[in-house]
């Protein structure tokens, strides 16, 4: 579904350039003439928001890297130097650390939107899987980044996560030693995590390119989950329609981001990371950042280390199989009342697991976490396949234009 590519630059130089490298045509067909369904709601602005956050994280990250020293003896002090002495270092650093949280917030909204409106269904399976890969890369990048300040929680987090590899039978310990660059988390671990933290964002950029490419082949899904039939009636041009909506959505998102950065910059940061890492003093209560808490809760809910790691990985891998777990021909939850109910139950399970992940583990809470973990998997492995064939769906509109126009008509009628 590429847009009309009858792009002819106005200037002679432009035409000369275009006939040799049609860069303008690519931009024009992807971001100007590209047809978008006219019924998209604000949930569809998060793609643009995520692109902005990725660029913002890379820009602030590169600046921080100019001042950061990836050494176990100097990392903590170099961050303190950034915060105190580098011009606007505090701003760049708060933008970066809080930016990671906002990046994940936007990512989760984007993913839940996909789940709700069935954006993973044919013909967008690959688009979805590329998204899952980006999510995995984001988690890895965020984890590596969290280790860099070399505070108490950085060190504890690095120890907990890298120790997970030792759950692998036979070769586990060897892999852990190889990751650490020694026999425990230490200086070599920090240096290599810095290298990876700098590398992975650019790999994410590559996958985002594939994500956008795949999107522009299959076209966007939409709140009614029906395919574009008549581009004239069902779609509008990306620019100005989607562009202005995305920019507005982004500006609202930036208000939240700036509130966090300028007024409550330490709200999401862990106090233990204001204490230098000390292998002899583990923080009383080891917790990851909020965006990883649900998985942490699952890990802790399972008494066996090996099976805990298996569950943790499965919880993410299962996402890649959703296109084949949910076979319902109707995409949007708008027309799937039962799926919609279970979707919201799933959201609650996710939030509940996140909360449990943040609390001190007790036997009672572990039991709740086990039940919620079961619920998490049941949504994908039991509810989705069963609903695929048993759910009584509501009638879907015949076309996107009809869906939009009926809504407008009803609204007008209601107003009168």
């Amino acid at each position: 579904m590429s847009g009309p590519s009858a792009y002819v630059p106005k200037s002679a130089i432009g035409r000369w350039f275009e006939s040799r490298l049609p860069l303008g045509g690519l931009v024009h067909s992807s971001f100007i003439a590209y047809p978008v369904p006219r019924n998209l709601n604000y949930m569809w602005t998060f793609g643009a928001i995520l692109s902005f956050m990725l660029v913002a994280q890379i820009v602030t990250g590169v600046v921080l890297a100019m001042h950061f020293i990836p050494s176990s003896t100097q990392a903590f002090a170099s961050i303190d130097n950034i915060m105190r002495n580098v011009n606007y270092g505090w701003l760049i650093r708060y933008l970066h650390t809080n930016g990671a949280s906002l990046f994940f917030l936007a990512c989760y909204i984007h993913m839940f939107r996909g789940l709700y409106y069935g954006s993973f269904k044919p013909p967008r399976e690959l688009l979805w899987i590329i998204g899952v890969i980006i999510y995995l890369l984001m988690m890895a990048t965020a984890f590596f980044g969290y280790v860099l300040p070399w505070g108490g929680m950085s060190f504890a987090g690095a120890t907990v996560i890298t120790n997970l590899t030792s759950a692998i039978p036979i070769v586990g310990n060897t892999i852990a030693h190889w990751l650490w660059g020694g026999f425990a988390v230490g200086g070599p671990t920090l240096t290599r995590f810095f290298a990876l933290h700098y590398l992975l964002p650019f790999i994410i950029v590559g996958f985002v390119g594939l994500h956008v490419w795949a999107l522009h082949v299959s076209g966007q899904n939409n709140p009614d989950g029906i395919a574009v039939k008549d581009p004239q009636r069902d779609t509008v041009a990306f620019t100005p329609y989607a562009t202005i909506k995305d920019v507005f959505g982004l500006s609202v998102f930036l208000i939240l981001y700036c509130w966090l950065v300028f007024y409550i910059p330490n709200y999401l940061l862990d106090a233990d990371n204001s204490v230098p890492a000390n292998p002899l003093a583990t923080p009383a209560h080891v917790v990851p950042e909020w965006y990883l808490l649900p998985f942490y809760a699952m890990l802790r809910a399972i008494p066996s280390k090996f099976w805990g790691v298996v569950i943790l990985l499965s919880a993410i891998v299962v996402l890649a199989f959703i296109p084949w777990l949910d076979r319902s021909p109707v995409k949007s939850a708008k027309y799937r009342p039962t799926y919609r109910f279970f979707f919201w139950v799933f959201v609650v399970i996710g939030i509940g697991l996140g909360y449990l992940g943040s609390q001190e583990p007790t036997e009672g809470l572990a039991m709740i976490a086990r039940i919620l973990t079961f619920g998490y998997f049941a949504f994908f492995l039991i509810i989705m396949p069963i609903l695929s064939f048993t759910e009584k769906t509501k009638p879907i509109p015949t076309s996107i234009a009809d869906a939009v126009l009926t809504r407008t008509k009803t609204a007008v009628a209601a107003a009168e």
Binding site: C258, W344, V347, Q359
Partner: protein
Amino acid sequence: MIRVRFSALAFAAAALVLASASAALAQSDAEQPNPPRQSWSFSGMFGIYDKAQLQRGFQVYKEVCSTCHALSIPFRTLADPDGPGFSEDQIKTLAATYQITNAEPNEKGEIFKRPGTPADDIPRPEAYPNDQAAAATLGKAPPNMALLAKALKFERGFPWFIVDGLPGFEYQEMGADYIHAILTGYTKPDDLQWNLYYPGHKIAMPQPITNGAVEYKDGTPPTLENYSKDVAAFLSWAAEPNLPERKRIGLRVLIFLLVFAALLYFVKKRIWESAH
């Protein structure tokens, strides 16, 4: 309509799960009270540091805390007009009263000591040149105070941890409250290492300061309550010296974004008019 009901139901269920879980937790934590919330000049959207209070707080640090605690910040930052705002001359005189070990050896290859300058960091307490030496004498190394106010936080539980992030209710002064609570938490006169607010109540630092220990020059009553508040405010500044500048820039940024977003909204409405 139905959609709204489902989501409302789901969120109500979530709130219930959270509330019951935190109620279960609150019970187990009952004997460990959270530090009581104090009023600070630097809280809220427009809060900034109180210069006189920071100067008093520095006096308390210098006369009491600095015996054991390091505070690794440069002398020059004490002249920060957003902070304690001492004059350049005061800082020069102050720095010169300390003997600093020079980083580089002299021409003869000897490591030597010299009077401090404003560019130097405040040196560690003389008696404890490193954490090991401090731990050997005191049982536990006293933490460096440069980031102490940011290193102290406590759990507020549901729903407060959400409220604490909301405009108008924001709570970023947990560290200051914590420091104030510890200093005023020595409530068992027969046990100087028992502290009401310290986890487990057994604290390595015996009661460091009591009424009248420091003589204020500005007429502020020399009470434990005032010492605790002043030094907590001073340490909050030490940990977050850019707070006033941050809030000043933030206000402009937020006003800009709010106006910008409003304008964009109307442009968006205008553009989409033809599409509906």
